[in-house]
Symmetry: C3
Subunit: 316 residues, 3 copies
């Protein structure tokens, strides 16, 4: 089966998932992001790479933060951005998703940035659009959030230089987290020798071991000697059933405190995709402490999204 | 009485309705749109004609799709666009419509694109603003939707070249449709010899015959040998009373199927203003079939709106 | 204590309140605004002073009108503007205000325009951000609305030239009005010899006399021989308790009518911050009459906001 993310020359055509993304493409995105990092520091924070292109932010699920990062990235590339709050638009008038896509494509859209509560929606859109349109998955259901995975890899590379000797722990609600899925795929693709998943049994998906992940239910044990700790947001809004007793109970066992952080390597970095629940998955003193690189992730996220957009636009 | 859409030199000053619009102005808009069609195909989809102009999208009635088409058209002309969701703004604080307009005018607005549930609202605004501001009606009540009418004419001209030998059928809920009104006025102004209205008696407004329209209640009879079929959206949200039994019943009698389409000329084109109710006013196989020009309408719509905006801005 | 609005060289760094703003800075803003007034009259209404800068409109409280004025001002300075409807964003996911600010700062924001229902929120943000970010208070609780105060001063100076011989009356619901607070501070700073506050006892805050304000509960008495009448919006949405019997009752005693206006100087000007409640705090014939400068305030408001933004951006 063809990789729907690549064109016939093996170049990036859509960014849908880190699963199936070749290592050299991930590395190319990170290298390109490096060159964009400097743009956001300039007096005039703009380059004309996407001038006159129409980028549509199609958020079927609300996320002001993520939408903003894509809007800023596209604007700094000089694109014209149209934000569509799709929840209140034609789809509510009974129009199908693909009719909406066809209509926007007919307006000569160049790029769709799609967030959707349903896993696979960006794939469906990518397989439907013509050759002139690129699709970026900005989070679909529990499936994937590839730009978050890429910016996380960029952050790790920035601070640790080399992936080949790292121990990385992903901590928390892994079951509901598209971020965790994307991160684990990226880490294994980039050759991280030891990836750990730490969480309560009820929040650990099956099949982690087959992905090459070591599973821990004890936080102290799992954090021992790790280089990188990736904490996850406790997805309150995603948890329907009662998979865990309470946020307080969760914090007691899986919240990252200064005392538990001390079990990791002394130069371990602490990451979080945001928005944080302080006092639930992470203690404030750790979130704001010297080992936290959480705000660096945000800064790198703009550069990584600029890189993805410019590579997609240039690859045609 | 003076035509409120034209200035003293007979040039377009506001676009409020196709009723009363001279034939040569309609033709001028279509000719100008032709030249803009190519802009949306360029690498850099922008021309500087409206650079530094402030275009306000004033949508008192929600329509993400239509707002987007105007936003894209204005952006490709390099205008600065401000989207005002007027439902949640000052009007809800008890301010009158004309006070809102006066305030925006005082901010040196150049153009208002107005959608309003009340027929005539754009006229009221146009008669209120000073000579430096142009008003475009983006749909008012059941009255008019002139840019839709113009893009429909552009589409017909594109495929049929000449209006003077056509039979055109407008099918469906004509009573509630501002699109139908605008289309019928445009078709008769452009000299189409036979315009037909097809629908159930309860959805046909009085006075069609006086407008030179032939009325049919039988779809098969009405479609016979037509060149153009303009299907209309069944305005569920506009129908308060029970003017028709059900959507299923409607489809049975007035939905456009492949079998009924075969009654028209073999090269007849099928149009729809969107968003479509598939399986209500139109069958999917027809909507996606070789005679459908529905997505072409969307593409031409951007060029037509660019044409209207540039003519208005240039005419001062 | 250091003035949080000024840098070490006494230059404007944030605009948080007119209280504590030196007279020469207020004058400098007004002088700069004069030069921008002409920009909005040009064919191309843009100057490149903020090109490539990222301005974030952070409206924790809804105000389409005020947001629009800042959006237009920033756009005419060529900035990139991101509008964040913060009510529906991360804060609703439990994220703290300062975490939201940190995140946006990490995206290399240059300027935050903040409206918040809580007094002091913009101060908290200003004291939190790094040296590269400027904060503008666009209205906080009952506390301040400094750009409104500045545009009001600009308007008075435009029509009256000199502040040193004026009598200015502020009329209405002074208790709940951040506009009134900002205006009174500005008027006294600029050396207006007589500032009057006119309203029912229940809507007059304590401490006015200490600010050098003469208090009147009788409108006729208070309006006598004034040069400037600043009417205030009756803040229906802010009045929880029953501080006044009814809007009709209010109009009877404190609504500005033509007959009452006649008590002021013949060349007195009438101002209102908008949106107006016609027939409550002001009679329509006065609002639209020859002495009204209400729409001029709106026009000047764009120039004043451009001035504030360009001074802040230039002062780094």
């Amino acid at each position: 089966m063809r990789n729907p993310q690549l064109n016939d020359h093996g170049e990036l055509r859509h960014l849908l998932s880190i699963e199936g993304l070749p290592r050299d493409i991930i590395t190319h995105i990170m290298d390109t992001a490096s060159s964009f990092l400097e743009v956001s520091d300039r007096e005039v924070k703009k380059v004309p790479l996407l001038r006159g292109k129409s980028v549509f932010n199609l958020f079927f699920e609300n996320s002001t933060r993520t939408r903003t990062t894509f809007e800023i990235a596209a604007t700094r590339l000089s694109a014209d951005v149209v934000n569509l709050d799709v929840r209140t638009s034609s789809t509510s008038k009974g129009e199908s998703l693909l009719d909406t896509i066809d209509n926007l494509a007919a307006m000569h859209a160049d790029m769709f940035v799609v967030r959707h509560a349903q896993s696979g929606a960006p794939y469906m859109i990518a397989s439907h659009v013509g050759p002139d349109i690129n699709v970026i998955n900005a989070g679909d259901g529990r499936h994937a959030h590839p730009t978050q995975g890429l910016l996380d890899m960029y952050t790790i590379r920035h601070f640790k230089k080399d992936f080949s000797n790292l121990t990385v722990a992903v901590v928390g609600d892994i079951l509901h987290s598209r971020v965790a899925r994307s991160d684990i795929h990226a880490l294994t693709t980039l050759g991280v020798p030891e990836v750990r998943a730490i969480g309560p049994l009820t929040l650990l998906p099956p099949g982690l071991e087959q992905m090459g992940v070591r599973v821990f239910t004890d936080l102290r044990e799992g954090l021992k000697d790790v280089d990188v700790i990736m904490t996850l947001r406790l997805q309150n809004e995603r948890m329907r059933g009662a998979l865990l007793p309470s946020a307080q109970e969760f914090f007691k066992h899986y919240g990252l405190t200064a005392e538990k952080l001390a079990l990791a390597k002394p130069d371990a970095i602490v990451m979080h995709p945001g928005p944080m629940n302080r006092g639930v998955e992470i203690e404030s003193s750790v979130a704001d402490g010297p080992q936290s690189v959480i705000l660096k992730q945000v800064t790198f996220g703009i550069a990584v999204r600029m890189a993805v957009m410019s590579i997609l636009a240039g690859g045609r």
